[in-house]
Symmetry: C2
Subunit: 515 residues, 2 copies
């Protein structure tokens, strides 16, 4: 069996997609889960792009031990040096640098000749190798590049010291046969290609990311890049869980193994969906809610006679085990702590205590506390930050009637520590809350997207609200899970605002240090 | 350019997936849109499976003129004859019959020898051809069947009169190279294959449905089957919109055309998502909300210099045009009717008037009425049925406060025509409503799934609620779009209950006729 390295870019190519804004704690939590999931490399961010990215990459490089941690850098001296500062604390510092190689990108975006592009690529790889033992070089828009130009530039960057060469299908344009044949051609024509890792990176614009990635593996790729749930720019990157399961289920055909811990699939997928706020459609392969649901009579009849008639993947394989009733109103601190540990959470005593308080409050109102509820509760504690003073909702009340004017009242603590009570009306209950909160936060708020969904089954299930809004023209996404839809909506709104406050606070601190 | 026929099975393989229950009006509306979208064949249902399916297939066959309408039948005399009754009114009656051909299905599910299976297949195709000019025969689980057995049985069913042969990858197991090579093998070895249509039917369990379908086209398929948004059993069928766009964008490579009206893509996708309640994830290829969103600084810079640097598909191509403010409070009846016509709706005068009343009510509360709002409003009118007396919500009021006990009061008309007022409490606002409604409907209700999302942008956007529940152990899904989240939740709950009442009423009527 060949070993295929899995390179996860959920925190870089995934995080840069529309509507996603993860804070450092959330990124760390995802990185820890990716390490458990068994990915070879974690691309933790683009350190030179913002102080927040820099800090997250630095913390992840300092925390993760069993996966290599990398960051993205343009072919620019300052990007590479900033990345070194962020990544040098890692076990095996790794840099990912790139330049575009397609005629359209070189001409319009870079405004450089092919010769100049080769020169820049070589210089940046040489510089990167002064710092990093591992350097990956990517030919952006490779699938629309001239093959022989790719051979030339790769010959040079390998000579300059690149340890991995990546061939992205940046715009999701290739067919599986074309993409496979490009890997075959490069494998046969680039000097020294056998000494480096050869990597595939696919986008799903035409729905072909999974097939293209597998075609690359069939034709010489030894590393593949993608994201959890296939999030990313536009239609997203290839979904890593699809590749991992395909290599497992069809190992007869691909003769390759990924090293992925398949039992962690569902957990990893749920965590990324929860923290990014990106929903997974029910018919999504592997991790969709219906991926294992057999509905038609004919299928159900077959499944009863022999499950293999219609089931090639079992829920058990990916760790999708039935949610059991785990704890209730009378469960004590010890049982709660035990369960958290069993679920793989490593929280500080302080956070565990805070989670226990939240649990008791929930248990007073909700009959059965499921594993899903605990997951939400514990994750929320884990990713909580107290980097700055923010808005805190103390209470919300709403009067709603179809033929009345909906009215909301909110009591909240402001960042300056005062407790304010505000109220307002709206055309609906949630609009009344949003109008009230806009008074509180004292800025121009525009709601871009809003949704609420139940976390588990039952009428008393937790409701998770996700709100994408702009606050004084800056866009952010907030989320909250509470037992009430209206409370969750109010808290998600403030969460979106608070993220901007924390970010601004952080930016100010950094500028103060720089002076 | 080769012509590839598009066979849509949204209403059969799609509708049989978990949590979907479309009524006849909704199915008709989807069929009409599929006809506009330019699909060659619409599989409207499985007539022998239920009276509801029979009726829907019959009405669709009598309505649709520009697409062939078909229905599914097992290899059973009664299935085929029932299907004829449902389909005979169509312009070109077409039947789709099937039997399993893989060793595991023949042994465990059918408990038949391969020889018996051939015999049954031949008999059913012969019987079907007595009625139908067009008969498609499918080898269920073809990709796990013996190739030479497939050749043998296909030789026989073609001799028996089948006009299309379909090779489904029922469990989503094949790789693109395997699936393509199976098509090549059958094309070269089955007698008379050149006289019939050869069809592909792929499932997405490993994320390969799109690639497998395109591989079939590259290797001789002249028809491909799939669903809108890729809905269907488990991980679903291939998404037809991905195939149509891939054939268009890569016509240089595939040299094929589908006849699909690409500008109707977004509308078709939205309609199916709305009526089935199946969400589309933002990173879904072609029809996801972010499919054309460019977020990273590097991409945005490139797009400004030349859009082709990062964009291979334009939103315009698939009819995803920016929503403009179309109507407001002061718009009159004439402007409203005009707009409805422009949007392609063909409503009766009565339904147009009802839609106008709903529009005026909405315009009183909501500043800007967008095309998305109109789409929701008009579709809701179009698919409304008055087949039976049902519950009608007259008003709902809710008292909610974080530290109080949430209380809801509902006034509604029951199926017997009485107006009832009920109230109840709950741990949250929505739970209070659900508890109140459970008193009203007087049965055991369990909530399986619940979600609300905003239809368009802005704090006063319509909220669309979807509820999947069981009522006295029967499962159904209800939906409603209203300006208030609580109202939408209450109406969606009653909509789910009402669907069961309509269905039961229909069943009773049918039984009365049969006696």
């Amino acid at each position: 069996m060949r070993k295929i390295d899995i390179f996860d870019t959920t925190l870089r190519d995934g995080e840069q997609s529309a509507g996603i804004n993860l804070n450092t704690q959330e990124k760390l939590e995802i990185a820890r889960q990716l390490e458990k999931y068994g990915v070879s490399i974690i691309e933790a961010g683009f350190p030179a792009s913002s102080p927040g990215d820099f800090e997250a990459v630095k913390q992840i490089a300092g925390t993760v031990k069993n996966s290599i941690v990398t960051g993205l850098a343009r072919s620019v001296k300052s990007d590479i040096e900033t990345s070194w500062e962020a990544l040098k604390g890692g076990v095996q510092p790794h840099l990912h640098t790139f330049i575009a190689t397609s005629p359209i990108h070189m001409q319009y975006k870079l405004n450089k000749t092919p010769e100049q592009v080769i020169e820049i690529a070589v210089e940046s790889v040489k510089l990167a190798r002064k710092y990093f033992p591992l350097v990956q070089w990517s030919a952006e828009d490779a699938t629309r590049s001239d093959r022989d130009f790719l051979v030339r530039i790769m010959n040079e960057v390998i000579k300059a010291g690149a340890t991995t060469i990546n061939i992205p299908d940046t715009v999701g344009y290739a067919s599986p046969i074309e993409y496979g044949s490009l890997f075959r051609y490069l494998s046969e024509n680039v000097r020294g290609i056998e000494k480096v890792k050869l990597s595939a990176h696919c986008h799903d614009d035409l729905g072909l990311a999974t097939a293209n990635t597998l075609a690359a593996i069939e034709n010489g790729a030894t590393q593949i890049e993608g994201t959890i749930n296939g999030i990313g720019e536009r239609a997203g990157n290839v979904a890593l869980e699809e590749i991992a399961v395909a290599l497992h289920i069809r190992c007869d055909y691909y003769q390759s193994e990924s090293g992925i811990v398949l039992k962690e699939t569902k957990r990893t997928s749920q965590l990324v969906s929860k923290l990014t706020g990106v929903v997974i459609q029910p018919n999504k392969a592997i991790v969709g809610k219906n991926a294992f649901a057999h509905e038609s009579g004919i299928h159900q009849d077959g499944m009863l006679k022999n499950p293999e008639t219609y089931e090639i993947i079992t829920p058990d394989l990916i760790g999708d085990v039935a949610t059991e009733l785990v704890l209730g109103k009378h469960s004590g601190r010890h049982a709660f702590f035990d369960r958290a540990k069993q679920m793989g959470f490593q929280l500080s005593d302080e956070k565990l205590n805070a989670a226990f308080v939240a649990f008791k409050k929930l248990a007073d109102r909700k009959k059965e506390i499921t594993e899903e509820d605990l997951f939400v509760l514990l994750t929320d504690q884990q990713v909580q930050t107290s980097e700055a003073e923010v808005y805190e909702l103390e209470s919300v009340q709403v009067q709603y009637g179809t033929s009345n004017i909906p009215t909301a009242t909110v009591q909240a603590k402001t960042p300056s520590g005062e407790v304010e009570v505000v109220s307002s009306t709206g055309a609906g209950s949630v609009e009344a809350i949003f109008n009230t909160l806009e008074k509180l936060v004292n800025g121009k708020v525009h709601i871009i997207d809003y949704r609420v969904s139940s976390v588990s089954k039952g009428r008393d299930a937790l409701g998770e609200a996700v709100i994408n809004l702009s606050f004084n023209d800056v866009i952010s996404t907030g989320r909250n899970a509470s037992q009430d839809v209206l409370e969750a909506s109010a808290k998600a709104y403030l969460n979106a605002i608070n993220r901007q406050i924390v970010k601004a606070h952080y930016q100010e601190q950094r500028e103060a240090v720089a002076q």
